[in-house]
C-alpha cells in the first residue's frame, strides 16, 4: 500500500513541528527574561510624596539608619518612621521649606504621609530584618548604597534564587555586627576570610529549607 503522505510532506511536517517547538521555547525564554525580577524590580524608583534624600541624611550628614528605621534590630519590619521623627529636626531645620509642606501637614493633621513602597516581597515570604542584622548582614547587601541615593532605588531583584545565593554561602556578606549600618565600610582584610571566620565563630547557619521563609 502506498504511503498516504509523500516523503517531502513528512519532512515538512517534522520541520514545522521542530520550528514550533523552538519558537515556543524561545518565547518562553524571552518571557522569563523580560519578567525576571532583574528587569521588573531592579531600578524601580518611584516618586515619593516628599523628596527625601537618603544621600543628604544618611550620607552627607552621617545619620545612622537606625535613627529612623528604629525597629530594624528588634522586629521583622525595619519600620518607616512616623512624621514625628522627621519633625524632631525639621521643627527648627528648614521649617519653612516648601518641599517639607506634606510633612508639616501630616504632623498637623495626624494623617500619615503616603510613602511609596520600593522593596516588596510576596505575601508568602516572611522576611525578618532583625534576624539578618543579628547575623551581621549589612543593609547594603539588599538595599545597596542607600547613603548615596537621592531617590531610593531597588538595586537587587529580591527573588528566591538571589536570596538562596547568600543563604547557601553567607560568608561573603557577613560582617561584624557593629558595622552593619555603616554602608561604606570595608574590612582591612579579605572580606571572604573575615566572613568565614564570623560564620564559624557565631555559628551562622541560614535556613535553606522552605519553612525558613515560607509559613
Amino acid at each position: 500500500m502506498a504511503p498516504i503522505f509523500t516523503e517531502s510532506a513528512d519532512r515538512l511536517l517534522r520541520v514545522v513541528i521542530a520550528a514550533l517547538l523552538l519558537l515556543a521555547a524561545g518565547a518562553a525564554g524571552l518571557a522569563s527574561w523580560i519578567f525576571h525580577p532583574r528587569q521588573t524590580e531592579v531600578g524601580y524608583t518611584p516618586v515619593q510624596p516628599v523628596p527625601y534624600s537618603h544621600k543628604l541624611h544618611a550620607g552627607d550628614l552621617g545619620m545612622d539608619c537606625r535613627y529612623c528605621h528604629t525597629s530594624v534590630e528588634t522586629a521583622a519590619m525595619a519600620a518607616v518612621p512616623s512624621t514625628e521623627t522627621c519633625m524632631n529636626c525639621h521643627q527648627r531645620v528648614r521649617s519653612e521649606s516648601l518641599a517639607l509642606a506634606p510633612v508639616r501637614e501630616s504632623y498637623a493633621t495626624g494623617k500619615p504621609i503616603p510613602w511609596v513602597r520600593v522593596h516588596r516581597l510576596p505575601d508568602f515570604v516572611f522576611f525578618n530584618h532583625s534576624a539578618h542584622l543579628a547575623a551581621g548582614v549589612s543593609c547594603v547587601s539588599c538595599h545597596g548604597r542607600a547613603d548615596q541615593m537621592i531617590e531610593v532605588k531597588a538595586v537587587e531583584p529580591l527573588n528566591m534564587a538571589w536570596c538562596l545565593d547568600c543563604h547557601r554561602n553567607p560568608a561573603a556578606r557577613i560582617r561584624p555586627r557593629e558595622y552593619v549600618t555603616r554602608l561604606g565600610w570595608r574590612p582591612d582584610r579579605d572580606p571572604l576570610e573575615l566572613g568565614r571566620g564570623l560564620v564559624a565563630a557565631n555559628n551562622i547557619a541560614p535556613p535553606v529549607n522552605c519553612s525558613g521563609c515560607h509559613r
Binding site: F35, T40, Y44, P46, T70, S71, E73, T74, A75, A76, M77, A79, V80, P81, S82, T83, E84, T85, S106, Y107, T109, G110, K111, P112, I113, P114, W115, V116, R117, R120, P122, D123, F124, F126, N128, S130, A131, A134, A135, N203, P207, N209, C210, S211, G212, H214, R215
Partner: protein, 972 residues
C-alpha cells in the same frame, strides 16, 4: 491488652456497611469541585483565560503600594510586632481570664491567662472562637427604633425624657431583664438604678443556669453556696449527670486537675477513678472508668440508693445492685479522698444528696469546699422570669429593658415571651445581634463585644478580672452598664469610667492607681476571691426535702433531656462558623443538632440516623433528625439547645432545629411524656465520624492500671515485631533542635479546644455543610473519637491526630514539584507557593492529616472578616494542599528572638504550639527531642510512649502515650 483493633468509630463501621466501605476507599469523595450555584467549571476557565490575557498587559508595571506610618509614634507599638493584653470573658455569669494577642491594633488570637484560676493558661473552644464573633459582619451594627435606623443620641434623648422622675415616678412599672451578671461594677450601676427607681425590679435569666446547684446547696446548708471541686485531692470521682469535663465545666482548672491525676508517670503512681452516671454519652462519660446509662429521672433514685447504701440517708438498704454495691465499697474505702458531683440539669434534691454524700464520706473541706453565693437573693431564675411574664401579661409593665441575652428565643416555649414583650408599651433591647428579641423591641441598641469594651467579672471562686478592650467598638456598640447608666443617670457614662472608678473607690487612695495598673496587667485583682465557708450539711433537712418532693415514678414511654448545644451553647454562638464546623466531640456532628437516641430505642421505634421525626410534648412540637448514639440511655431522647435560630446572621440561620420549642417551664431540663412520630422523610447530617479514617489499624493503645503495673512495658509488648528497614540511607537528625510532640491519651478529654486554637492561629477556612458532607473540612488537628465494646453500652476513647511530621514522610517522596520537603529540624515543610495541587501527598499519607483547598474558601470575606487573620501565616488559596506545621511561625519567631539575644539554645517550653497552649488538660507537650532534659524527650521514651503506625517506618515525630484506665476490679 486493648489495641486499636477493637475500636470502632461508627455503627456503619461496626456493621461494615457499603457506604462506609465507599468512604474508606475514596480518598477524595465524589463531587465536582465547585460550589453549587456559583457558575460552572467551564465558565470559570473562560474567565480565567480572559483575566490572564488582561493580566499580561498590565504585568509590566507593578501596582503602587503605600507605606503609611502613623503621624505620631508610639513606644508601645512596633509595626508587625504583636502586643498582648489581659482581659476576661463572661459566659453564664462566670468570667474566664484571657490574654489576647493584638496585631497592629487587631485582636487575632486568644489564649488563657495563666494567672487566672479558671483558665490556668488554657481556654475553651468557645473562647478561642470569640475573635471570629468580634469580626462577624452580621453583628448588630446600628441603633434601631421600630425597625428604622436611629442613633445613640436619639436614644439618649428618649431616655432622658422617658425615664424622668416626673414621668415614671418610683419606676414601679419598669422592669430590667439581663443575663446572669457577675460584674462588680455593673452591680454598682444596678444598685444605683434600683435606688433611683425603687419600684422597679431587675430580673436575671439565663437558659443554661446554675439554679439547681444553688437551690440544692440551700437545701443542704440553709443558704445558697457556690461549690468548688478539688479534683487534685480526689481518688474517686462520682458524677451524677455532671459533664464536668465537657459542657458543664465551670472552670478549666477542673479538667487540668482531673487529667493530672490520670497520667501515671510510672506504674507505682496512684490514679483516680471516675464513675459517671448519665443519659447522654458525654465527654465525662468517655473519660469514665465506669459508666452507668440512666435516664435523667432515674439519677435521683440512684443517688438516694447510694446515700442509703453509705448510711448517709436513713431508710431501707437498696436492693443488691452490682454497680451500686461496688461503687459504695469503693467510696467507703476512700473516705476523704472521693468526690460526688451533681450536674446542673439534675434537680435541687440531687445536689442536696451530693452535699450529703460528700459530708458523709468526709470529703467536705477536702475535695469539695464552698463559698457563700455572691447574692443572697439569688432565687430560681425561672421563678423571676415567670413573675415577669405574669406582670407583662397583666399589663403591669410599661417599660421593659432587656439587657443582653436573647430571651425571646431562650425563654420557655409555654411563656410566649416574644408576644409578651410587646405588651410592655415601651421596650428597649441591648443585644449583640438583631435577633428574635430585637424583633419585638421598640428600641434595638447594638451591644459591644467583650473584646471591644471595658467591664469586669468574677470567676467561680470569686476572683475578679478586669475586662480590657482590645479595639474600639467596631460598630459603636455599648455595654450593659453604659446603657443602665444612661437610663438611671449614673455618675459615670463611659464604660471605662464606670469600671475604673468603681475599683479605685474600693482601694486606699495611695495604692489605687498602682492596684489598678497591676489588675490590668495581671488580668486578676489580687485577693478578690470569696472567702471559703465551712457549712455543715443538714441530713434531716435534705431528708425532709426529699420527702416533700418525692421522685416521680419512672414513667413509661420516652423521656426528653435538654443539653447545651456543643457549638451554639444556648444559641449565642449560632453565627460562629468555626464552632458550627467543629464536630461535636461525641457525635461528630457538624452544622446541625439532632435528637439522640440509643441503638435499642432506635431499633424499637424503627429509626435510623438521619430519619426526620416529629417530637412533641403536649401542644409543643418540632421536627428533628435522629442520630443513633451508641451508649445513650434507652427510652430517652437528648436534644441540644441553641440551634434552629430563625433570626440570626447568615451562618447560623436555620441551622439545626430549635429544641427550645419543646422546653417548657415545668420541664426545663428533662421530662417524661415525649412523643416521637416518624415522618418518613430524611435529612442529611454532616457527620465526620468516618472522615479521615485510618483503616482500623492499631491506633489507640490502652491498658488498665492493673495491667500497666503487671507489665509496665505493655506498649512495647503489644506492638508487632517488625524490623523496619529502609531502601535508602536515612538522613540523621541528631544535631540542632529537633522538634517533636507528645500527646497523652490518658489526659486528653477530647474537648476540641485544640481544634479551634489551631483554626485561629493558622487561618484555617470554614467550608460549610455541603463541603463537610464531601469530607472536605480543613481542620489541621482533628480529635478522633472511637467506641469500644457493644453498641449498646460502649466505652469511648479520643485521640487528637495532626501531622505526625514523619522523618520518613511518605508525602514527600510523591510530590512532583518538591512542595513538601523536610527541614533539618525534622519538620515536614509545606510550601504553599510551590504546591500545584496534585493531592498525591494526601493520598500517600497514612494518617490522613493533609487538607486540600478544593475551593477558594476565603473568597468573599468582608473587610472586617479579614481582620481575624494571623499575619504570620499565609492565607492559602484554591488548589493548594495544607497541613499542620507544628506552628512553624511560632518556632521561627522564638528562634529569631534567641539569635537576637545572642544565643542558640531555646529553653524547654519556650515554644508552645497553639494546640498545646489551649489544651485545658495539658495533654500536649512540644519541644526539642534532641535535648534529653526536655519534657517531650522524656515522654517520647516513656514506657507508655508509642508512635502511630510506627511499623510503617515513617518515624513520626509526634508520639502518643498509651491510654490508662483504672476500672474497679470488682466490675471488670
Amino acid at each position: 491488652m486493648k489495641t486499636g483493633r477493637q475500636y470502632w468509630r461508627s455503627l456503619e463501621q461496626l456493621a461494615g456497611t457499603p457506604r462506609f466501605q465507599e468512604w474508606l476507599r475514596r480518598e477524595f469523595p465524589q463531587g465536582a469541585p465547585e460550589l453549587a450555584g456559583q457558575g460552572s467549571r467551564r465558565r470559570m476557565l473562560r474567565l480565567m483565560a480572559a483575566s490572564l490575557g488582561l493580566a499580561g498587559l498590565t504585568a509590566c508595571r507593578r501596582p503602587v503600594e503605600n507605606i503609611l506610618p502613623s503621624s505620631r509614634g508610639s513606644e508601645a507599638i512596633v509595626p508587625g510586632v504583636p502586643n498582648w493584653y489581659a482581659t476576661s470573658m463572661t459566659v453564664g455569669g462566670l468570667s474566664f481570664g484571657l490574654l489576647v494577642e493584638s496585631h497592629d491594633g487587631r485582636p487575632t488570637k486568644i489564649e488563657g491567662n495563666p494567672r487566672h484560676p479558671s483558665s490556668l493558661g488554657a481556654t475553651t473552644a468557645h473562647a478561642q472562637a470569640a475573635v471570629l464573633s468580634l469580626y462577624d459582619p452580621d453583628r448588630s451594627t446600628r441603633v434601631l427604633r421600630q425597625g428604622r435606623a436611629a442613633s445613640w443620641d436619639g436614644f439618649e434623648a428618649f431616655a432622658a425624657q422617658h425615664f424622668a422622675a416626673a414621668r415614671v415616678g418610683d419606676g414601679a412599672r419598669i422592669r430590667f431583664l439581663s443575663e446572669t451578671a457577675c460584674s462588680p461594677s455593673l452591680e454598682a450601676v444596678r444598685r444605683h438604678a434600683l435606688t433611683r427607681f425603687p419600684g422597679a425590679r431587675w430580673i436575671e435569666y439565663e437558659p443554661l443556669n446554675q439554679d439547681q446547684a444553688l437551690a440544692g446547696s440551700e437545701i443542704a446548708y440553709g443558704a445558697p453556696h457556690v461549690v468548688r471541686f478539688h479534683f487534685d485531692k480526689a481518688d474517686m470521682v462520682v458524677s451524677l449527670d455532671h459533664d464536668f469535663l465537657g459542657l458543664d465545666a465551670l472552670s478549666l482548672g477542673w479538667i487540668r486537675q482531673f487529667s493530672r491525676r490520670r497520667t501515671a508517670d510510672s506504674p507505682r503512681e496512684p490514679m483516680n477513678r471516675l464513675y459517671a452516671v448519665e443519659s447522654r454519652f458525654s465527654m465525662t462519660g468517655a473519660a469514665a472508668d465506669h459508666r452507668l446509662r440512666l435516664r435523667p429521672s432515674e439519677v435521683r433514685r440512684f443517688g438516694e440508693d447510694l446515700a442509703r447504701a453509705l448510711g448517709a440517708l436513713e431508710g431501707p438498704a437498696p436492693s443488691p445492685n452490682r454497680f451500686l454495691d461496688a461503687l459504695a465499697r469503693d467510696l467507703k474505702a476512700s473516705r476523704g479522698r472521693s468526690l460526688v458531683l451533681a450536674g446542673p440539669r439534675q434537680p435541687a434534691e440531687v445536689h442536696a444528696l451530693a452535699h450529703l454524700l460528700n459530708q458523709a464520706l468526709g470529703n467536705t473541706g477536702v475535695t469539695v469546699t464552698c463559698s457563700r453565693a455572691p447574692r443572697d437573693d439569688a432565687r430560681l431564675q425561672i421563678r423571676s422570669l415567670q413573675s415577669l411574664a405574669a406582670e407583662l401579661a397583666a399589663g403591669q409593665v410599661e417599660t421593659l429593658v432587656v439587657l443582653g441575652g436573647n430571651p425571646a428565643f431562650t425563654a420557655p416555649a409555654d411563656m410566649g415571651f416574644q408576644g409578651l414583650m410587646r405588651k410592655a408599651r415601651y421596650n428597649v433591647r441591648l443585644g449583640l445581634e438583631e435577633d428574635e428579641t430585637s424583633a419585638g423591641a421598640e428600641w434595638h441598641l447594638p451591644e459591644a463585644h467583650f473584646l471591644e469594651s471595658w467591664g469586669d467579672g468574677r470567676a467561680l471562686d470569686g476572683t475578679a478580672s478586669i475586662q480590657q478592650p482590645l479595639i474600639e467598638p467596631l460598630y459603636g456598640g455599648r455595654t450593659v452598664a453604659e446603657v443602665v447608666a444612661v437610663i438611671s443617670g449614673y455618675k459615670d457614662r463611659r464604660a471605662y469610667d464606670i469600671v475604673r472608678n468603681h475599683w479605685l473607690a474600693g482601694w486606699p487612695v495611695r495604692d489605687a492607681e498602682k492596684n489598678w495598673r497591676r489588675a490590668l496587667h495581671d488580668g486578676v485583682v489580687s485577693g478578690s476571691s470569696f472567702p471559703e465557708a465551712r457549712p455543715a450539711a443538714d441530713a434531716s433537712r435534705v431528708a425532709a426535702a426529699l420527702q416533700s418532693n418525692p421522685a416521680s415514678p419512672v414513667a413509661e414511654g420516652l423521656e426528653i433531656a435538654f443539653t447545651p448545644g456543643w457549638a451554639t451553647w444556648d444559641g449565642r454562638y449560632a453565627n460562629n462558623g468555626w464552632l458550627q464546623e467543629a464536630p461535636d466531640p461525641m457525635t461528630r456532628l457538624t452544622w446541625d443538632n439532632a435528637a439522640l437516641v440509643s441503638p435499642a430505642t432506635a431499633s424499637r421505634l424503627g429509626l435510623a440516623t438521619g430519619d426526620l421525626v416529629r417530637l412533641s410534648r403536649g401542644r409543643h412540637e418540632v421536627a428533628a433528625p435522629v442520630l443513633v448514639q451508641p451508649g445513650h440511655a434507652d427510652d430517652c431522647v437528648s436534644v441540644p439547645l441553641g440551634y434552629g435560630r430563625a433570626m440570626c446572621g447568615r451562618v447560623g440561620r436555620n441551622v439545626g432545629f430549635n429544641a427550645f420549642l419543646l422546653r417548657t417551664t415545668d420541664a426545663l431540663w428533662s421530662a417524661a411524656g415525649l412523643e416521637l412520630r416518624r415522618t418518613g422523610r430524611t435529612a442529611r447530617l454532616a457527620l465526620t465520624q468516618n472522615h479521615h479514617n485510618m483503616e482500623g489499624r492499631p491506633l489507640i493503645l490502652a491498658a488498665t492500671l492493673e495491667e500497666y503495673r503487671k507489665d509496665p512495658k505493655f506498649v512495647a509488648h503489644s506492638k508487632p515485631h517488625l524490623e523496619p528497614f529502609s531502601l535508602h540511607k536515612e538522613p540523621s537528625y541528631d544535631r540542632g533542635n529537633q522538634w517533636g510532640m507528645a500527646i497523652d491519651l490518658s489526659a486528653c478529654v477530647g474537648c476540641n479546644a485544640c481544634v479551634l486554637a489551631c483554626q485561629a492561629e493558622n487561618n484555617i477556612p470554614i467550608v460549610g455543610k455541603q463541603q463537610v458532607l464531601r469530607g472536605r473540612q480543613m481542620h489541621w488537628i482533628r480529635v478522633d473519637r472511637y467506641y469500644q465494646g457493644s453498641p449498646e453500652d460502649p466505652g469511648a476513647a479520643v485521640q487528637p491526630v495532626t501531622c505526625q511530621q514523619c522523618e520518613n514522610a511518605p508525602c514527600e517522596n510523591v510530590c512532583p514539584v518538591a512542595a513538601t520537603t523536610h527541614s533539618p529540624e525534622g519538620l515536614n515543610d509545606m510550601a504553599y507557593n510551590r504546591c500545584v495541587g496534585t493531592r498525591y501527598c494526601s493520598n500517600n499519607c497514612p494518617y490522613k492529616v493533609r487538607r486540600f483547598n478544593f475551593l477558594d474558601f476565603h473568597k468573599g470575606l468582608s473587610e472586617a472578616g479579614k481582620m481575624v487573620f494571623n499575619p504570620d501565616v499565609t492565607v492559602r488559596m484554591r488548589g493548594v494542599m495544607e497541613k499542620c506545621t507544628y506552628c512553624v511561625q511560632r518556632i521561627e519567631e522564638k528562634k529569631i528572638k534567641a539569635r537576637r539575644e545572642g544565643r542558640r539554645a531555646i529553653g524547654d517550653g519556650e515554644i508552645q504550639t497553639a494546640c498545646q497552649q489551649a489544651c485545658p488538660a495539658g495533654a500536649i507537650v512540644f519541644g526539642d527531642i534532641n535535648d534529653p532534659a526536655s519534657r517531650v524527650a522524656g515522654l517520647r521514651n516513656h514506657n507508655r510512649g508509642y508512635g502511630l503506625l510506627e511499623e510503617l517506618n515513617t518515624k513520626p515525630r509526634t508520639t502518643y502515650l498509651a491510654r490508662l484506665r483504672n476500672p474497679n476490679p470488682e466490675l471488670a
